[in-house]
């Protein structure tokens, strides 16, 4: 792969910690927009982000961010902001200084650094508490002040490791809105998260990881296509779930039909959704059941994730 000035490129990247695998043979390139890294703990999401930002070096392969590498730190870190998962801060620092001094290291003068600091604090909703010591912040506030630091210098690539952790629902919604706004400016936003529903809603594409490997990558619908061989889940809410489940089991392509605990729904796993729809039409026409609702239950990251990784992706 050749470096592209608009893309983030992972070119056959592997990272080993001694004999322990971090990530292996990662190959993909990302266009601007929101990309979510999804995977369970230990799947290699943070390793991938640390590799991307040069905190660790690949054992094999190369990474290019907008055509740059971390070996060119001055150009590279003007373009990249990284909000890490490390919940630690320089001792005795307050929120304002935490953002202001790194901006001074960027080369901004006092006035410009002050403006950028205030702007970042406003965007992260931390302006009111900026002069308080970070040690006295709640977990959510610490998360937001790190986010403010990462966006303060107007980077073109924003890397966020579990950015929604510790945020209350309101702050979470605001952060998601902020990520969306940043992505709309033509920037790269790379997010890792366990909160799959939220990631699903805001992502342009997803990278699924398991045990150090990228198991699928692309737009959510594309990823869904990649796993077409896997059964699709359809949720049917009806008057007689037992009858529907019984009829569904007679079809070869139906792998599973499960009556849910509410007693009014059946979750069907089928390899042929069209055939199942025809069956459903027949049953309804015959008056065996009254159907209230039919919905695909797996056209989201959570389901894809379940297919590929064999887990529901819940926080562990």
């Amino acid at each position: 792969m050749t470096p592209d000035a608009r893309q983030i490129v992972f070119d056959n990247v592997s990272k080993f910690y001694g004999e322990v695998l971090g990530v292996n043979k990662v190959n993909f390139s990302l266009e601007p927009g929101i990309t979510s890294l999804v995977g369970p703990n230990g799947s290699g999401k943070t390793t991938l982000m640390n590799l991307l930002t040069g905190l660790i070096k690949p054992s094999h392969g190369a990474i290019y961010v907008l055509g740059l590498t971390p070996q060119q730190p001055i150009e590279f870190f003007r373009q990249v902001g990284y909000c890490t998962q490390f919940d630690s801060f320089p001792p005795g620092t307050n929120g304002y200084d935490f953002i202001y001094w790194p901006l001074r290291l960027h080369g901004f003068g006092h006035d410009q650094a002050t403006k950028l600091t205030n702007e970042a604090l406003e965007r992260a909703g931390m302006a009111q508490v900026a002069r308080r010591k970070v040690a006295g912040y709640s977990k959510g506030m610490r998360q937001r002040i790190r986010l403010a630091q990462a966006i303060a210098h107007h980077p073109s690539v924003l890397v966020l490791d579990e950015p929604l952790n510790g945020l209350d629902p309101m702050a979470r919604a605001e952060s998601i809105g902020l990520f969306g706004a940043i992505a709309k400016q033509g920037m790269h936003v790379i997010i890792s998260s366990h909160i799959l529903e939220e990631v699903d809603r805001i992502s342009d594409r997803v990278v699924l990881m398991s045990s150090g490997y990228v198991v699928a990558e692309g737009q959510i619908k594309e990823v869904r296509r990649e796993v077409r061989d896997h059964p699709m889940q359809i949720l049917v809410r009806c008057s007689n779930p037992a009858a529907l489940a019984s009829a569904a089991f007679e079809l070869d392509h139906v792998v599973e039909a499960k009556i849910l605990s509410d007693g009014q729904s059946v979750l069907v796993r089928t390899r042929d959704a069209e055939q199942f729809s025809l069956l459903l039409n027949k049953i309804v026409s015959a008056g065996l059941v009254e159907v209230d609702a039919v919905a695909p239950a797996d056209d989201d990251v959570n389901s894809i994730y379940q297919y590929l990784i064999g887990s529901d992706g819940s926080p562990t």
Binding site: Y17, N50, T53, G54, L55, I56, K57, P73, I74, E75, F76, F77, R78, V80, G81, Y82, T84, F86, S88, F89, P90, P91, G92, W101, P102, R104, L105, H106, G107, F108, G109, Q112, K115, L116, E119, H153, H154
Partner: protein, 291 residues
């Protein structure tokens, strides 16, 4: 002009003047590190280390006012031998530099804050220089103040003879030499400990080995002695101690070299070790779980 445009403009102008940027980054790093290293309770033990001889000399000043004709020479040897060469050079500055300089990077690894330094547009070599200078400012300021206090307490006790020795005799020149040796000791030991902290997870053991090396270096061949910090410092100490009698144990026996070679040699050694540190920092990865 919007903030976005002003950011782009600043970045573009800095690109054209990298040395201005490096200088500004170094001054900011020094300022932040000095605040972090000097004005903190964590450094109280370093203050104590610097001030122990001062406390003893204050006690002596208060309790023993008597002076005799031979007191000036005895006190000059006391200051040069026990206080300066034995305590400050071999113990005080050595251990304080171990604490200050090893903490510059290793401390940030322990506190899990090093990634903040690595995620800003600062070359890692600039980071090494900035942190080293900060450590040097802290240690030099502290120990030069302590050495000055000792010098002052030794000679003020001697009344007019002491004043005459300082202002009309070799006193001020000796004080200047003490300052020079103190500064060079801080730079030399500082560079060594900074490099050790980048080489080893626990630099204490190699630090103790270094102390052993500094003690036995004089018995090694000439070329090997050049790798010792005390080798250079010995030749710059202003008062030559008697090599016989009780003071002999405080002297550092080394092959004679000129003061110019001593200063130049130690600065070269410091620079070489800093270059090694720059090489090491480029390879450093932030993996806090290993700490």
């Amino acid at each position: 002009m919007s903030l976005q445009e002003s950011v782009a403009r600043t970045q573009s102008s800095l690109k054209e003047q990298p040395w201005r940027l490096f200088a500004s980054q170094i001054s900011i790093l020094v300022r932040n590190e000095v605040r972090r290293n000097l004005f903190t309770r964590r450094r109280i033990w370093v203050y104590l280390l610097a001030l122990i001889p001062v406390f003893f000399l204050i006690l002596r000043y208060v309790l023993d006012k008597g002076t005799s004709p031979s007191q000036l020479e005895d006190d000059t040897f006391l200051l040069a031998g026990i206080t300066f060469q034995l305590y400050y050079i071999r113990l005080g500055i050595f251990f304080a530099c171990m604490g200050i300089f090893t903490w510059l990077f290793r401390g940030e690894m322990v506190e899990r804050t090093l990634h903040y330094q690595f995620l800003v547009p600062v070359r890692r070599e600039v980071l090494v220089v900035g942190k080293f200078l900060a450590g040097a400012v802290v240690s030099i300021a502290l120990f030069e103040a302590a050495v000055f206090a000792c010098f002052f307490l030794v000679y003020i006790r001697l009344g007019s003879a002491g004043r005459s020795y300082v202002f009309d005799g070799p006193g001020l020149g000796q004080l200047g030499s003490y300052f020079l040796v103190t500064a060079l000791a801080c730079l030399g030991y500082g560079a060594v400990f900074l490099a050790l902290s980048l080489l080893f997870k626990n630099p204490i053991i190699p630090g103790v080995m270094l102390m052993g090396w500094e003690a036995v270096a004089p018995i090694f061949p000439s070329w090997a002695q050049h790798l010792s910090v005390t080798f250079y410092l010995k030749h710059l100490c202003p008062v030559k101690l008697p090599v016989e009698g009780a003071m002999a144990i405080f002297t550092i026996v080394a092959e004679p070299v000129s003061p110019f070679i001593a200063v130049f040699g130690l600065l070269c050694l410091t620079l070489a070790i800093l270059v090694l540190s720059c090489f090491l920092i480029r390879r450093l990865e932030v993996t806090y779980t290993a700490e």
